[in-house]
Symmetry: C2
Subunit: 212 residues, 2 copies
């Protein structure tokens, strides 16, 4: 029932998070049991892919029936590590950072921003979206105290590398980076890049190709 294979595709983890959304939607619709087809209906993922993905972690379904929605939700949360609230620091409270402070999509996944930092003296001490903005010079102090190991980096591109390095030194192990630059960090620090311009270029390229 729980083979716990050692090597799990990169992409499987990313999809688990989509499955969670789908499951929560089904739960809201009072569906207690759902088949792999039900769960993947509105995702661009095949039902086989779904079952394969889950099979890396164990057998959660009943043959001929499907999956218990609530139960599977819990299991996937456990796998992803978001079964407990995850405390996150946000560094860089510019326009994008402010928008992220009030992003409503985080709580659903037990993600909680608990500290906001900025370098601009005018902003420090101010309250924004309910957060008191701390000076970036207090990074170490606050991060250590709060035991934070996940950060969102939304500082200007010029300071991104420097701040990221500082975060790593303070013990942050995972960074969601919005600056359009490839961060160079110790390899035990995980980085995920959100690159708007690059995404748009990718789309435009597809558009162009599709017309040939």
């Amino acid at each position: 029932m729980r083979p716990l294979k050692r090597y799990i595709p990169q992409e499987t983890a990313r999809r688990l998070s989509l499955y969670l959304r789908s499951l929560k939607m089904l739960d809201q619709k009072k569906k207690a049991v759902a088949s792999s087809g039900d769960i993947t209906r509105f995702l661009n993922v095949s039902s086989v892919q779904f079952r394969k993905d889950l099979s890396y972690f164990g057998g959660f379904g009943k043959r001929g029936v499907g999956y218990e929605v609530r139960l599977l939700t819990k299991e996937i949360e456990k796998i992803l590590g978001t079964d407990a609230v995850r405390r996150i620091a946000l560094v860089g409270v510019g326009k994008l950072g402010s928008a992220l402070l009030s992003y409503t999509g985080f709580p659903e996944f037990n993600l909680q921003i608990v500290a906001a930092f900025d370098a601009d003296p005018d902003k420090i001490g101010k309250i924004k979206r309910g957060f008191k903005i701390e000076s970036i010079s207090r990074l170490r102090e606050v991060i250590k105290k709060e035991g934070i190991e996940t950060a969102i980096l939304s500082v200007p591109v010029e300071s991104a590398q420097k701040v990221a390095h500082e975060l790593a030194k303070c013990g942050v192990r995972a960074i969601l980076n919005f600056a359009p630059v490839n961060l160079t960090l110790p390899k035990d620090v995980f980085v995920s890049n959100v690159d708007m311009a690059s995404e748009l270029e990718g789309l435009i390229y597809k558009l162009k190709r599709s017309k040939v």
Copy 2:
């Protein structure tokens, strides 16, 4: 010199955009010629991967020497379709949408937001970051007139599917979607999703795994 292979990896296109950034940096540093190693030094991409990627489009380098920075920049822009200014509509001027309106990373890649839409009557007609906010009811009119085929979708998740559908009907062929939902659209419409919560979950999963 220009084999123009028919099938080009998905991932190659995405990396081309990274190469562009690197090339622009090198140009700023007055480097006229650069080797594949120079160009990929600060990217997580091997120099072989770089050369392989370019080889799908032709031979742009000089053996034993490297690549002319300016020339290669132009060639990649041509491949990506960003050699001319690309006009983009932004739909949904909430906190995130506003932040995107003033995002400084777009012009570098010839991406230009030329229209902003919102459904909130209080916002319509107001000027935000230099853009006059149009009613979403004028979507068709403006998009047709401006000949826009690329859009950024930053509306609340509840209305994302509906608005996306409307965009597609108006002739938009590429959508950068910030709503945490999988859009169902005709398959000649390309969608790229930016999903912050999902990215964070992916990071947390890696974090968790790395500790075992």
